[in-house]
Every structure is written in C-alpha cells, then in structure tokens.
C-alpha cells in the first residue's frame, strides 16, 4: 500500500505520570497525570515541511519524540508511509530508525563529547551494519560531511566536538542523520542555540536537502517567524492541543484563533515599528497537570464565553486546509 503521506498522526495522546511525595501517595487516591499531548491529529506529505509552534509545555517536542517512538504513547495511531508504527516487528523498527531521524536542539548535548567526528557521523552505519569495509565507511562519511557543508571533509574526521563551533556541530549532527538517507526528519529547534548569523546557513541546508531528496520535516520551534520562513504549513500548539493548523502564510496573515492572533501580534520584526500598541496576553500558561475543563485556552482568552468552560472545541475546517479549534471560529472567519 502506498500513500502520499510520510506521516499520519491520529488522535495521539502522551501522558506522563508525575512522581509525588510519599505523603501525597498515601493520602490521595487520584494519580497526578501530565497530559503532555492530548489528542492531536495531522498529516505530513512527502517533501513537506510542517512546523509545530508553541511555548514550552505545549507538547511540541513530546509530539516529535512520540512519533519517533522515543516515548511511550497513551493512545493514537501513527503511520509512516501508510504503515502503523506502533507495536511493529523488529524488521520494521530497524527500517524506521534508519529512515526517520531526529535532530536535537542542543548540538553541545546531542553528540558524545568523547567521540571524534568520523565515528559520530558513521555511527548510524555501524549500528545498522550498513557498510562492509573501512573504505566504504570513510567514503560515505566524506560525502555526508561535504553535503552538510563541512569541507574539506578530511579536516574534520579526527576532531572532537569541543574543537568545533556550534554551527559546525549542528552540521555534524545533520551529516550523521543524512548518511542514512532518511525520508522523514523531526528537527527540534535545530537553530535556537546558534547565533543568528549562522542560523540561516543551517536552514538553507535543510531546505536544499528537502528539495533534492524529498525529505519531509516536522520542524519544532517557538519562533513563529522562523516557522513562517521555512515551512509549508504551521500548526499552533497550546497545552497539548493543536489550536490552529494551515498554510504558513495563511496562519501568519489570516490567523483566526485568539491564541494565534496573540502570537502574531508580538512577533518581533527587524526594522522600525510604528510603536503600535502590542496586545500582550496577560498571565501565563496554566500548569498542565491540572485537569482543565473545556477549551485549554479559556483562562487567557480575550473572547472567552460560557461555552468555552464546558466544551472542548474540535478542529473545524474554515477553508481548504485551514482548521481552527475555537467555538467562535466561523464567526471570526466571517469577520475577516
């Protein structure tokens, strides 16, 4: 069975059990549960870039890790090119681990400081027994490093991570992922630790690889302007739910959800602003361990009404490919 979707996620839920003190354990029967991801669904087409945007605690990173089976999932379906990922046999998992890769936020943490670049980049080949000779291994590493923009590659083979700059480290991580020729990559804030001047180089590299190899990306970021810059579609997350999902320009310029609007309003732009009065949401994201009734955004929403405390809104399509989870979605879109 073939499908055009690299990834299909249906009603994904990831819960964490919170460790409690002894007294609490003894006297309270209710278990404290953190609903990190609370029922989200989306598709990712082949060669598409979808950004998950949200603040800390929105569940964006958890979603990425859950898809890659790095976390235990409560319920939900995850399909990788039409094949269910969960509870698959070893053969499938081996293939999945090769073709679906993750790039982590902090290039200082995500590579072993005691390994040299050669071994870091070749590690996926080694653990999956994909090369037969030393020569083949070196050739593949050389190609991967060059594709990641580290030239001449030979100069990097013997270096330790601490001898590289932040940008070079992230390129080493990319090379190590690309060596497997993946079809799907979860990129978790891949440039947020890097200086602005080298960020764009990494982003370009990712885009070039998408164009040449039709890689699908799930791009996780807190930076809406960055998401707009590189992705085809954007999903706005808040407390484990998708609030709004649609084309990148659509979300930025014609966003409907009050939370999306608040995020776009505070988006900084380099240049002189006419000092417009910025609407900044008061308060902070509530604690996700508390059981929230109704819409997760009700405590901060400027348009909140009775229904929002009773009923959790479903994603409704207000335009082809543009979905909003808000009881007022239709009214708000009409006013646009």
């Amino acid at each position: 069975m073939t499908t055009d979707f690299a990834i299909e996620v249906k009603d994904l839920k990831v819960y964490f059990k919170i460790k409690r003190g002894l007294a609490e354990d003894l006297f309270s029967k209710k278990k404290k549960i953190l609903k990190a991801v609370d029922g989200i669904s989306f598709n990712l087409a082949k060669g598409e870039i979808l950004s998950l945007v949200g603040e800390s605690g929105s569940g964006k990173t958890t979603t990425g890790k859950a898809i890659l089976q790095l976390l235990e999932i409560e319920t939900g379906e995850i399909k990788f090119f039409g094949e269910e990922v969960r509870r698959k046999d070893k053969n499938f998992m081996r293939r999945f681990r090769q073709k679906a890769q993750m790039i982590f936020q902090d290039p200082y943490q995500s590579i072993n400081p005691r390994n040299i670049v050669m071994d870091i980049v070749a590690e996926p080949l080694d653990v999956n027994h994909l090369v037969k000779s030393r020569k083949e291994r070196t050739a593949k590493v050389k190609l991967a490093l060059e594709q990641a923009g580290l030239e001449p590659a030979e100069d990097f083979y013997q270096r330790y991570p601490h001898e590289l700059s932040g940008g070079q480290r992230q390129r080493v991580v990319l090379a190590s992922s690309m060596i497997m020729d993946p079809t799907f990559i979860v990129a978790d804030e891949p440039v947020s630790m890097l200086d602005a001047s080298i960020r764009t180089g990494i982003l370009r590299l990712m885009l070039d690889l998408r164009d040449s190899r039709q890689i699908s990306y799930l791009f996780i970021t807190h930076d809406l302007s960055l998401a707009w810059l590189i992705s085809d579609r954007i999903a706005i997350m808040y407390l484990g739910k998708i609030m709004e999902i649609g084309g990148a320009d659509e979300i930025i310029h014609r966003g409907i959800h009050p939370y999306t609007k608040a995020l776009t309003a505070i988006m900084p732009t380099p240049g002189v602003n006419k000092r417009k009065e910025r609407i900044v949401l008061p308060g902070e994201t509530p604690n996700p361990t508390e059981d929230l009734r109704g819409c997760k955004f009700n405590s901060r929403c400027p348009l909140v009404h009775d229904r929002c405390y009773e009923e959790s809104p479903e994603l409704i399509e207000i335009q082809a490919g543009h979905q909003v989870a808000c009881h007022l979605a239709r009214e708000l879109s009409r006013n646009h």
């Binding site: 790095l70 995500s110 590690e123 991580v173 992922s177």
Partner: protein, 282 residues
Amino acid sequence: MKLKDFGKAILHNKLALTGTIILLFFIIVATFGPLIMPFSTMEFGEVEDLLLSPSFKHLLGTDDMGRDVLANLIAGARISLLIGAVATAISMIIGTLIGILAGYFGKGIDNLLMRFTDFFLVIPWLPLMMVLAAILGTSLWNIIFVIGITGWAGTARVVRAQTLSVRERQFVERTVSIGAGHGHIMFRHILPNVFPLVFANTVLVAAVAIISETTLSFLGLGDPTMASWGMMLHYAFEGGATASGAYWYYLPPGICVVLVVLSFTLLGYAFDEILNPKLRGR
C-alpha cells in the same frame, strides 16, 4: 579530558607525583627484582645463619629458616602486587558491569542488582573472606577470587549513579533514535563517559585489595607456596620474630604494605582532584 592533559595534571600535582613515584618503584622492583636478587628465596641457611641481623652480606638480615629477608621481600612484592592488580581488575569489571546494567535498565533490574550490591556492601568482608578462603582452599587464585568478589560493591554504586546521569544526556537519546541496541549504547556511549570515575575508583579498590591480601595471608589463609608480604608477616609472627626482637624480619614487609597502600591512596585523592575540576585550586 585527554590523556595528555591528564599526564600533565599528574606532573603538576604533588600528591599524584609522590604516589606515582612510590608505585613505579615497587612495580620496577617486582618486575626486574628477581634478576638482581642476591639470593634465591629457596636458599635455606645453616643453623648459624638463622635470624641474622642486617649485615653487608644480608642487607636486611635472615629469617628463622636462614633465608635472605631482602630476597623474600622482592619476591613478595611480585606476589602482593599481582594479587592486588588482578583482584582489583575483577572487582572493577564486576562493579562496572553491575553498575551500568542497573543504571541503564533501571526499574526491576536496577532494584534486583542494587539489593544484591547492598548485600555485599553490608556483610562484614573479613569473616566472609575467611569463610570463602577456608572453603575454597588456600591457593593464589582462590585468594584473588575471594578479594575480587568482595570488593566490587562500592564501585557498582558509584558507576550506577554516574550511569543514571549519563543515560539522561541527549546523545544517548539520539543514539536510540538511530536504531542502536542496548549493548551499543552501554559500551560505546555510557562506558567511556563513566570510565574516568571507574579509573579514579580503581586505585582506591587496589589499596583495599592489597590490605585484604595481607590480612588474609597474615591470618594463615594465604597460599603457603607463594611468599607474599602477608605470608612473610605470618611466618615472622609464627617464627617468634616479634618475641626475639628480630625487627628486620617483620618491619620491612609491613613498611612495604604501608607504602604501596599509601601510594594508591595518594593517587586516589589526586585523581579526585584532577577529574573534579571544582576541587582544584582549593
């Protein structure tokens, strides 16, 4: 930390330098000693040669069988250091393995292995060693085995704690995501990162191993055919060296044991300082 920097740090650390020099001296003596030994350890003397005090012929005198004490001391260095080294290696391997397995897998396996470790940690080691030595019989390898399997528990605890922290680091998660198995992660990623700690621990375990050997042998549980320093002390005691004032017989092996243990302890402190930069400069 790289090996070169580590070497440099040792040269700059007075404790480490002293420890290294003492230890090197004993290792050299143990290795090349028998070549320059003035007498064979099996050269028994005549009646007039028994318990001679130090002279030019016998630098450290003779024992109650008329054998040269210096020759025995040199031969003993070999055995004592060999027992110390091998027993330490066994301890370290068991301790590291159990520590990594417990820390990496966590949950039930961790619980099981740590209770097992606690058991070894709290039982009085001397009686255990005596019982084991008595059951297994007194041979060199039995002594090594007994010391080895009683000395690993502390190491296992330390390695487990470090493994727990390394396991949470992101490169481990990344390695899972590229499809690596447990063995690969434990031996290629966790082991190299806990190794400095294991290394620092080794010298302390070695000191304990040497003392254990001396104690067991002194109590008569050593291998009678292998004259370690502990055995020498045992014979000196049995031969009435203390009663007859033959200090040259019982003092040298005692001093050697103290020096070797001291050198290991000094190195242990120094490694702690070098590998924990926070302690440096205090």
